[in-house]
């Protein structure tokens, strides 16, 4: 590919319009190649590194992302005449593209796609996620009686194509536990299960969803992924990782979610609440989102360097959370795969660069700008709920380097960090190679959004508030798609686009593109009604399917991308701990405020850092995990074992592992052992034999014991099983649990001194009225229940 185009000016102009001008091409007809679906991923992966958007790494002046330049090597209709095909299939490795140094190869299948595409006319099209969302029509399906709402048509149409059938609906007990866990992070109680099972009205399920959406637990559960995305924490994150006070922002999120604040408002207030006309204090606190990044306080730090790091973190987070684009890739050079230039990165940077901040932190306390939080929070009076102008930046000491660094004034426990605009905007320059000390001062940059995202129907933003309004304009192709994909991920375990963080050319294609677009357009149409779109998903037949399947079905689609069954996977870390506390009756439900410090391993902080963890006592040991104190460099290890995000940088997708360390935690960790103790107490408090058992012929009787005591044991075990899994045990399971109880009891009878040790784990004292041997044995049974795969999974 050594021909060259000499006119650089033409090249630049084409670059600007390229992603907006395209020839639509048919993507569904069988045998026809879709540029967006089939060709672009190959070109992006194998070719763009040298023949794509990045001008600095471009070879031979050839761009394959622009049809006007690609035509040099592509002859529409004539693959045999096309240089592209000749070079990609060249027999000589030195002549073949990509060259050996690229360490990438175009497979025979890829070559066929490229060849077919040229044969069919070599039409270009916009990358799917950058094209407008249009509400697609519902497809025809094989069984019109199956769909319960629009979602199901798209899912069934895909299953039809794969010649698969959906699963039957989950039984009511499973369904109510599933949806309760999904909306509140806690399981359904036996009473809630009974009520749902007994109610046979057609809208019983919908009423259950409405009830769950209205509980304050909803916001506490739904806030967790948002806090991960917003990299919220209680410490600064670098080096000594000192303390900050930002929990009022966390409270704001929970309240906003519970109030069902429309998503556009939710976004605008967090990005630019301080700039809204007549802004309230609440709106100002919302902007803490943009201040949740790490802040370096290390002695010797160069403020300019870390100021740039703060702003870059805002830009990267903005790109990932709202646009699903890896904008950060363009910090040091033009994006290699997506149409974002390095200059455009710094133009976006300019929106977030006007905060009157100092690059280095105060080394304990909030970093300016911050405002005083009224004592009455969150119950602000009308008078209190008004924007406060933050105190101007000032410095500790006389502002000279002392002890290695100039530090700003710290904000104390009663403050919260917010965004604020400087009166005179700070000048923004392109930083060569992303280096803070290499600004290109020849050209000051104005705030602007990347060209590929500029659509005709919007006026272009010039400040942070306008950026937020631009972002939530209905014509923005990414905002709604990215948001509904996250909701889908939360309920099904995997997004419709698996790469939640990347909707660019290197991200994965959606499994159900029309469904994604339908959800996105519905979301916008509803006025960004979050609870409504979530309810729509939960009401679908797709969601309500049983997760039971053959081993073969599981192995052919382990992640359930085709949705031929209901979701089944291990609960996230917070829900696991909260559930154990809840079913054992230990959970303390108290809203908001400073973070709680529950049990941690000994010397959790002091063994590797210069701070000491002071564990709380009493109620704070048992609060929901969303309120657990989060130290970024040493996050709570139990939560990390179950794949929590570290909260160092924005995370919108996490792994889900299955490890022996998880088994050790669930068996031995103080929180889970204490929960087992109190679950045992709850179980032992019942002697009510469930009606079902009274009629059962094969009660798990042990020879030589009275029927009454066996019936009581059966009742206790049944209650435990119901608390943990929502359902009653089968006869086999009941026998198994009763066997376990008797074996445990035998062992504790032989070693009665062990009971006192086991029953003393955790700080809450036990009910001394209970027989310690029976209590210890039942604690072990309760531990089995809390360790069941079914208990720790949503199914």
């Amino acid at each position: 590919m050594r021909q060259s185009v000499n006119n650089a000016a033409v090249l630049l102009t084409v670059c600007i319009v390229s992603w907006c001008c395209f020839v639509p091409c048919c993507s569904v007809c069988a045998g026809e190649v879709s540029f967006a679906r089939d060709v672009l991923p190959i070109l992006a992966d194998k070719c763009f590194a040298c023949h794509g958007p990045d001008a600095n790494s471009r070879q031979a002046d050839l761009r394959l992302d622009l049809p006007s330049i690609a035509q040099r090597v592509v002859e529409p209709g004539l693959p045999a005449e096309s240089e592209l095909i000749a070079r990609v299939s060249h027999a000589d490795p030195e002549q073949r593209m990509p060259p050996p140094s690229a360490k990438k190869q175009v497979s025979a299948a890829d070559l066929q796609v490229l060849s077919d595409w040229i044969e069919q006319g070599a039409a270009y099209a916009t990358h799917w996620s950058l094209s407008q969302v249009a509400a697609p029509a519902l497809p025809d399906v094989s069984d019109p009686s199956w769909p319960l709402n629009e979602i199901d048509y798209f899912v069934l149409a895909r299953l039809d194509r794969e010649q698969l059938k959906p699963s039957q609906g989950a039984d009511k007990t499973t369904l109510i536990r599933r949806v309760t866990l999904d909306l509140t992070g806690l399981p359904a109680t036996p009473a809630e299960v009974d009520r749902f099972v007994e109610e046979d009205s057609v809208d019983a399920y919908e009423k259950a969803i409405d009830r769950l959406l209205a509980t304050s637990r909803y916001g506490e559960h739904m806030a967790a992924p948002w806090l991960d995305a917003a990299r919220y924490a209680d410490t600064d994150g670098y080096q000594n990782d000192r303390y900050r006070y930002q929990w009022a922002w966390r409270d704001w999120v929970i309240l906003a979610l519970n109030d069902n604040m429309p998503y556009d408002k939710f976004v605008i207030e967090q990005l630019a609440g301080d700039m809204l006309p007549e802004a309230t204090l609440r709106q100002q606190i919302a902007t803490g989102f943009c201040r949740n990044h790490r802040i370096n306080s290390e002695a010797g730090s160069i403020p300019e360097e870390w100021h740039v790091a703060n702003v870059a973190d805002r830009v990267d987070t903005f790109g990932t959370v709202f646009l699903g684009l890896t904008i950060g890739c363009a910090r040091c050079h033009d994006h290699k795969y997506d149409p974002i230039t390095q200059q455009e990165y710094y133009e976006l940077f300019a929106f977030f660069n006007n905060v009157p901040e100092w690059g280095v932190g105060p080394n304990n306390g909030n970093s300016p700008p911050f405002v005083e939080l009224p004592q009455s929070w969150p119950n602000l009076s009308a008078e209190e709920d008004r924007l406060i102008t933050p105190a101007a930046l000032s410095f500790q000491g006389d502002g000279k380097y002392q002890g290695g660094v100039v530090r700003p004034q710290p904000g104390g426990e009663n403050t919260v960090m917010v965004m604020h605009e400087m009166e005179t905007p700070r000048a923004t320059f392109l930083l060569q190679r992303g280096q803070y000390q290499l600004p290109d001062k020849s050209e000051p940059l104005q705030p602007a959004v990347p060209k590929c995202l500029q659509t005709n129907s919007q006026s272009l933003p010039t400040n942070r508030l306008e950026l937020a309004q631009w972002l939530t304009h209905p014509s923005n192709p990414l905002t709604a798609r990215v948001a509904v994909n996250r909701y889908w991920q939360q309920f099904f375990g995997v997004g419709i686009v698996r790469t939640t963080e990347n909707f660019g050319t290197q991200g994965e294609m959606p499994s159900h593109p029309e469904l994604l677009d339908w959800l996105a357009s519905e979301f916008v149409r509803s006025g960004w009604d979050v609870k409504a779109i979530q309810k729509k998903i939960l009401l679908s037949a797709t969601y309500r399917q049983s997760s039971q399947a053959t081993v073969q079905a599981h192995s052919s689609d382990p992640e359930n991308r085709l949705l031929a069954r209901g979701p089944r996977y291990r609960l996230p870390a917070f829900a696991l701990r909260d559930q154990a506390l809840y079913v054992s009756g230990l959970l303390i439900e108290k809203f908001g405020g400073p973070s709680a410090k529950p049990y941690m391993p000994p010397k959790i902080w002091s063994s590797i850092s210069n701070n000491t963890y002071e564990q709380d006592h009493g109620d704070n040991l048992y609060r929901r995990s969303i309120y657990t104190y989060w130290r970024r460099t040493i996050p709570p290890p139990t939560m990390m074992t179950f794949n929590s995000a570290e909260r160092e940088v924005c995370i919108v997708r996490k792994g889900r592992t299955n490890t022996p360390l998880q088994a050790l935690t669930l068996m031995n960790n103080v929180t889970f052992v204490e929960s087992a103790r109190f679950l045992a107490e709850r179980m032992m408090s019942t002697n009510q034999v469930p009606p079902a058992l009274q009629e059962q012929q094969d009660l798990p009787l042990e020879a030589g014991t009275s029927a009454t005591s066996d019936q009581t044991l059966a009742a206790q075990l049944t209650l435990g099983m119901r608390l943990a899994t929502g359902r009653e045990p089968s006869g086999t399971e009941l026998n198994r649990l009763a066997d376990a109880y008797r074996q445990f009891k035998e062992k504790f009878v032989a070693a009665p001194e062990s009971t006192g040790k086991l029953l003393a784990i955790g700080e809450k004292p036990r009910d001394e009225a209970l027989n310690p041997i029976e209590h210890a044995a039942m604690t072990m049974v309760a531990s089995i229940l809390l360790n069941l795969d079914e208990t720790i999974s949503k199914e």
């Binding site: 010797g300 160069i302 599981h554 088994a663 089968s730 079914e790």
Partner: protein, 484 residues
């Protein structure tokens, strides 16, 4: 593979429900163990990538003795006798420009040359120069390759350590051990493939460590290092609760497995089989970890070699002995962190104590590995995140000086599997401020470490956010001069 199968059958035979369920289930579960995408955090035997190693490895495992804080190259390895004559004279701006000094010392009125207080001598047949601070290590210089021309990009601890352990100053990338775990897998099941340990120096409070230094970044979290805690139970929740003994745990696990098996029969989710296996591995870790840390069978003379504090959990000597025991058990990547090398003020006093805490145990570890034939295929790496300045930070007297952070040159050594023994590599300028020849960047060191493990650093990649990432990112050159 055969070993794995044998291990697996050992579990299966102990488990009555398997025999009840028949061989069909057992073989299915084995498939799950080998193929499940959801494996164990550092402790499920896994095969690694099929394409690895790229060529025959010289080293099977790594012991990385990370000296956190930035040890002074001028007082340990980089002998500059001519600086004695320049005592107190300004380090010329032409040698050391102002723009990359930290703000801890950049405002100083003067940058006086601070020659090392310590004597150097040539040791071993190789005649490697080494300071008097390391008398025990001096007996092993013929096994070492001392790199005097290391350099890095970062000047503050956090980004510098993050760069050293993950190849990037920005958090979110996998650590070296996680890459190796991902690429090479492990053939051990009851111990993690990647273990991290830490200890504190007695001279001063050290710079903190962060979980990301042994984290898995964007790799699946099962590849992350397991941090052996230096206080209390070595692995989180490894011990059964008080009042629960092993037979009781066995009863509990058998019933749990049977109930989970019933669920699997009903619902068909292979994750349940994986979970059953993980509980068995956990049970075995509960035995193997205490055995690992039980030094009662170590001969007296071996313990003595490591020094008096070898029996005290959380000391450097203790961790060195654990490192040897982990190496014997085939653990892939053993990462020690020793804090306390950040000597800004009273360096001579602090570095004496720091060397007193570490010199003996480091030497003992090398001797122990060698005696057992393990040094041949174990790569040992010693070094910090950057070096220290040739000028004194703060007051310079005949007996006292301090040194600030210095990224432009510093010393690091490697020994063992595939390393050129008894060698000194690279040169610095007269002040030990800049690399004079054969510079080795952190990325180059990473490329070389991977090479010794049989890996082409450009070919061990992982796709994240649409891009192929590697430990060395877009940098790194294999330094052939370091190879045997």
């Amino acid at each position: 593979m055969m070993k794995l199968l044998a291990d697996y059958q050992a579990i299966a035979s102990r488990r009555h429900f398997f025999s009840r369920a028949g061989t069909g289930i057992a073989s299915l579960a084995l498939g799950t163990l080998l193929n499940s995408s959801a494996g164990a955090t550092g402790s499920t035997p896994s095969r690694g990538l099929p394409s690895l190693p790229h060529y025959a490895p010289k080293a099977q495992r790594i012991i990385y003795l990370f000296q956190s804080g930035g040890p002074s190259q001028l007082d340990l390895w980089d002998y500059k006798p001519q600086l004695k004559d320049k005592f107190g004279q300004e380090v010329p701006r032409s040698v050391y420009p102002d723009d990359r000094k930290t703000t801890m010392s950049s405002a100083q009125a003067s940058f006086p040359t601070a020659p090392s207080l310590f004597e150097f001598s040539q040791a071993g047949e190789s005649g490697t120069w080494i300071s008097q601070l390391q008398p025990h290590l001096a007996n092993h210089v013929d096994d070492l390759c001392v790199i005097k021309s290391m350099h890095t990009d970062a000047i503050n601890h956090d980004p510098a350590m993050t760069l050293f352990q993950t190849g990037s100053q920005i958090p979110g990338r996998p650590s070296i051990g996680a890459w190796l775990n991902y690429g090479l897998g492990s053939d051990r099941s009851e111990l993690p493939a990647f273990v991290a340990m830490s200890s504190k120096g007695s001279a001063k409070e050290g710079q903190p460590l962060y979980d990301r230094l042994w984290g898995s970044g964007f790799l699946p979290s099962r590849f992350q290092g397991v941090k052996f805690r230096n206080q209390g139970p070595p692995v989180l929740d490894i011990y059964d609760p008080d009042g629960v003994d092993r037979p009781l745990r066995r009863v509990m696990l058998d019933h749990l497995a049977a109930l989970n098996e019933l669920k699997y029969q009903e619902i068909g989710d292979p994750e349940i089989q994986t979970r059953i296996t993980q509980y068995e591995l956990a049970y075995r870790m509960q035995v193997s970890v205490p055995q690992l840390l039980d030094f009662s069978q170590e001969p007296r003379h071996v313990l003595d070699r490591y020094g008096a504090d070898v029996l005290q959990q959380g000391t450097y000597a203790y961790n060195c002995l654990v490192a040897r025991r982990l190496a014997e058990r085939g653990v892939r990547f053993i990462q020690l962190f020793h804090q306390g090398w950040d000597q800004h003020g009273n360096l001579p006093d602090q570095i004496r104590k720091q060397c007193n805490d570490t010199d003996r145990a480091t030497a003992a570890l090398l001797a122990d590995l060698k005696q057992r034939g393990l040094l041949d295929d174990t790569l040992v790496v010693w070094g910090g995140e950057f070096g220290r300045t040739a000028y004194s930070q703060g007051e310079l007297t005949a007996t006292k000086y301090g040194r600030d952070h210095h990224p432009s040159c510093f010393s690091l050594w490697m020994a063992g599997g595939g390393v050129r023994a008894g060698a000194t590599y690279g040169e610095t300028d007269d002040y030990s401020v800049n690399v004079a020849s054969h510079g080795v960047h952190v990325h180059d060191l990473h490329a070389t470490i991977l090479h010794l493990m049989g890996i082409d650093h450009e070919q061990l990649t992982y796709r994240f956010q649409g891009r192929d990432y590697r430990l060395t990112d877009v940098h790194g050159k294999l330094v052939t001069g370091l190879l045997a």
